[in-house]
């Protein structure tokens, strides 16, 4: 006699100590739930970035509170501020030093497009030197905008074919 399974969630009595899922789902869940940011604070946007990390906005609610000043330990570079041509190679080098997988958020008008600095000294968008995953508008953006960008980045991470990439690189 077979009865319908009315269990809506995981039940150890029925399924034992086994959870069946997809590798991508697990890997991406792990990655998106603990994004360690690399604060590339270059101008006033960095002040808003500090606000995001502090108690009122509290980026810890999204698992990204572990700001790492070493690129070796970071997953996501948040470029917060004006990137000058003098600074641009250093931004790229720091990006290169980050371990895979890695993501970039361009925070604010300056990092996204050069912003109001249409001059000889300013890189017109950090996407010329590093691949950007999420752009944030604003000058500077509100902390909520950065939280929104992080949520967008998380949903992007959750769509990545991580298992395939890991097997290909192995």
């Amino acid at each position: 006699m077979v009865s319908a399974n009315n269990e809506l969630a995981y039940n150890t009595k029925i399924e034992g100590d086994i959870v069946v899922t997809r590798a991508d789902a697990v890997i991406n869940w792990l990655r998106s739930s603990s994004v360690w940011p690399m604060p590339m604070g270059l101008a006033c946007c960095a002040i808003e970035l500090m606000g995001v990390a502090a108690s009122r906005f509290d980026i810890a609610r999204f698992g990204a509170e572990v700001f790492r000043f070493s690129p070796r330990q970071a997953d996501c570079m948040i470029v917060a501020g004006t990137v000058t041509y003098k600074m641009a190679p250093h931004v790229r080098r720091i990006y290169d030093q980050m371990a895979e997988p890695k993501w970039v958020i361009a925070m604010g008008a300056c990092a996204s497009s050069g912003g109001m600095y249409r001059s000889y000294a300013t890189l017109q968008g950090v996407d010329q030197i590093v691949p950007v995953d999420v752009y944030i508008s604003g000058c500077p953006p509100r902390p909520e905008a950065l939280l929104d960008a992080l949520i967008k980045l998380q949903s992007k991470i959750k769509k990545e074919p991580s298992a395939k990439q890991l097997l290909a690189s192995a």
């Binding site: 041509y85 003098k86 190679p89 080098r93 000889y120």
Partner: protein, 209 residues
């Protein structure tokens, strides 16, 4: 030390070549570049102008001779007076001025900045490197013949330039430069914008009538 009754007269009697410079605020003098250092030392030692406020320069224009004028502002912390001295550089192609970095340590970085942005060499400066632009940048951006948007050059780091294929490019001016409007107008209108929006990078500037 007390304020001199007339610092310009005292300077002119000591340096007969000095002439009055039109000024809206403080006493100001033009003098030959060879005497500038001695005059500044004289102001510092005899009249207690002990604080060098600024060293900067003026580019009078590409076709003007003399092209470059170096300007010094000194201030006295005891009698609270300002004096401005200006000296034309003799050579328009390779302008040279004397350093005062041994008289005021603050002049070190001021002169590096003036060298960086105007290309004026300060003789006997202990460390005359660029201070804002990177070493090896080929231009002096505050010169009149340098466009605000910039000139295409390689990135400072050739390895990164090779990796990213990026370079220093002229910024898109899109009818700029962008300036805020002063006065009592609503904030949307006061936002920095191009004063001449009749042209962009894609649409040619209309010929003036």
């Amino acid at each position: 030390m007390t304020a001199p009754a007339d610092v310009t007269a005292a300077l002119q009697s000591k340096f007969p070549a000095a002439t009055l410079r039109p000024s809206g605020d403080h006493p100001a003098l033009n003098l030959p570049v060879a005497e500038a250092r001695a005059a500044l030392k004289y102001l510092r030692d005899e009249f207690a102008y002990d604080f060098l406020v600024d060293v900067t320069a003026i580019d009078n224009g590409v076709d003007v001779t003399p092209r470059f004028t170096v300007v010094w502002h000194v201030y006295s912390t005891s009698h609270h007076g300002y004096v401005r001295l200006a000296a034309d550089c003799a050579n328009d192609e390779a302008p040279v001025a004397p350093t005062v970095s041994d008289l005021w340590a603050t002049a070190n970085w001021h002169e590096r900045e003036t060298y960086d942005l105007f290309g004026i060499k300060f003789e006997n400066h202990p460390d005359l490197r660029r201070i804002l632009m990177w070493d090896g940048y080929p231009y002096h951006p505050l010169r009149k013949d340098f466009p605000l948007a910039g000139i295409q050059t390689p990135l400072p780091d050739l390895e990164v330039a090779d990796l990213t294929k990026a370079s220093v490019k002229p910024a898109p001016m899109m009818g700029g430069p962008f300036v805020a409007s002063p006065g009592e107008i609503n904030l949307t209108d006061a936002e920095p914008r191009a004063k001449d929006e009749s042209w962009t990078e894609r649409r040619e500037k209309p010929a003036s009538e």
